[in-house]
Amino acid sequence: MLESFQIIISLLDSTIRIATPLIFCAMAGIFSERSGIIDIGLEGKMLLSAFVAATATFLTGSPILGLFGAILASCSASLIHGFACITNKGDQVISGLAINILASGLTITLGIALFSRGGQTPPLASEQRFMPIDFPFLDQLSFVPVLGELFVEVISGHNVLVYLSVLAVFFTYYVIFKTRFGLRLRAVGEKPEAVDTAGISVIKMRYQSILIAGMLCGLAGAYLSIAHGAGFGREMSAGKGYIALAAMIFGKWNPIPTLFACLLFGFLEALGVRLEGVELIWIGEVPVQVMQALPYVLTVVLLAGFIGKARAPGAIGVPYSKES
């Protein structure tokens, strides 16, 4: 009994760690896609910013500067995306894919050129990373059964970016549904003509949205390489951008349901890791690959069947042009 409680606690703990970059990315996706711009490039932006975060931190010794570097890199990629498909009305999926391919190649090439470590950046020391924060009164609370332990093990003891990701969800929700900017952003993704004829620039709205998406993606990248990890490894985003995209669709482009979708995907991955090499009743030992495939299988199943009527923003993927 006690042991299984311990297992659950540690599962939840890893769920949160794994879900954090998903949450940042999915919120980025919501900003971008709610404004009508498909954001396949989440993956690439995250990878690029993870590399820049690790590199900048290694060179300057400051994780804060690393974080800014990451945001800058990710926003630059957003601007490329915007230039291609807002200004020049290019295909948004193609442009996003191009960013992913560019990020994958560029990080390895630059990594080798700078550090000659096969694409990795040198490991970072603890003081160069965002380290776990322990909440006050932990000692007292740990005596409270269940809840206390839950607090100490699961809620407390993460790095600052984890908490920031939760804030990002509420920030996204508030901005999108409660502010003037959000009303216009949703309108521009549903019916840009309505925004244009209301005397608001569609192009400006969309650039603003993708820049916010860029910032959030930068946080996700920084989390990977200078908070959760201690340096950049090649392809370290490992498909998380796509999973975040799936979580966003699963959450129907709404921040709160999307948060839960991210946590679900995080939990599945944590479960997969946990069950590696474990004998299960009835089934026996499940091959590692099956467990690793689980989140992706679930993505397909959920997207294909369960969510049914996920309604994408009306004007998503359609470049806006007046004179047509």
Binding site: K178, T179, R180, G182, A194, G199
Partner: protein, 525 residues
Amino acid sequence: MKTIEEKGGNETVDSLPPSTRLAIELKNITKIFGHVVANSDVNLKVLAGTIHGIVGENGAGKSTLMNILFGLYKPDSGTIFLNGQAVDVNSPEKSIALGIGMVHQHFMLVPTFTVLENAMLGNEGSMILKNGEKAVLDRLKGLSKNYGLDVDFEAIISDIPVGMQQRVEILKALNRGAKILILDEPTGVLTPQETIGLFDILRSLRDQGVTIILITHKLKEIMSITDTVSVMRGGKVVANFSTEKTSPEELAENMVGRKVLLSIKKPTLKFGNPVLEVKNVSHESKDGVNVLKDISFDLKEGEILGIAGVAGNGQSELLDILSGIETLQRGQITVNHKTILPYQDWNSKKAREFGVAHVPEDRHKRGLVLPFYNYENSILGYHRNEKYFSSFLMDKRKIVNFVDDLIENFDVRPRSSSISSGKLSGGNQQKLVLAREIESNPNILLVGQPTRGVDIGAIERIYEDLMKLKSKGTAILLVSVELDEIMSLSDRIVVMNQGSIVGETNSSNATELDLGKMMSGLEQV
């Protein structure tokens, strides 16, 4: 850009009532898209506090001109004066600030938003929605009451009827402080009742000092509501009139550039045998609504039976069943002496084999594949005919030859079989669909809304073609929401309301008033 002075020119300004100041003056506006001159040296004057109509056929440049005035398009040359001041309207933002509001033909509403959210978009009152909402709502409610613009502020746009959506558009414009209101083809989507309601609103706006520009191609509306009117043709303003001093005939002549016959000569001939008999047909929609209730009628050779009714009272479903698109659920249909029973094998292919041709209500959705070329669209549904084949392959040359003739005979413009049908004007698309169906030599022709969004010139032609077909002995079932059309074309009229036939009359005894009463379900005959 040289202008050829055409009849009417500027004669008018003098004939206008010398009352007040000009709200709008456009001078020498020219706009060119690629190779197409949409507006060429256009001059226009509108007095403050009047309703000014702009008529013209599709493609005459009306919408382009208004989009220039609203700042959506930039003119290549020319000047805009508002209240006597030259202004540079280079964006909707600017035009809104100058007090111009526009209700577009295709509404600029976010379908997933509430009425309130749509009305406040761009004029939210505060960075945080909640802080501004109350003030905006109060202002909107005031406007709504003042001008009789009845809307439900909490409703989602996609759930409310088109008439209300339009009122939201007007509210939106007023909320932004519009003193000049442009309406682009506002009645195209409205029922007769909604149109009357809209006109009441427009009159009340005018009486309270709003200047209104009404773009339309419906002459009846121009005559009934405008104070002054300009006619556009081929990108130019070709005539200006004071409404009370002109007539529909004169306007039509200026629109088309030649005399137009607005009345129809109906051939008199004896009807033959009944070819279509509908007995006790009932139908339940997918949502479980009884959309047709016990419908019975028959139709004879050479007869035109008009089905009148406000849109959405079962006419579309009836057409769908008769043309084989929908399965027959209850009752029976006899087509050319062949009887179709419920859930029998009945589809549009079979309908064609039985001699039933169908001009669908929505030509974009069902009549044509818009990106297809004319020669492809002209044989759709009849493409199995062996005259289009050489051995087992379709023969493009044969098809194109056939379609070239078809396009010539039915006056489809431009005369090209190798242009995609989406590039044709509404009227020419309709002529193309009609040509295809008539060419199949049907015994029975089902026609839905034959002149929806169609120019006068094309309407004249379509009516002519229908009459020609009638005199050949084809039975025609005509469904239309245009009462004028039903009354002038049909021999006999049945009226549908909520899925039932509520009345039948000979067209010679029918009056608009009686039919209107039956259509609204007030009176059973």
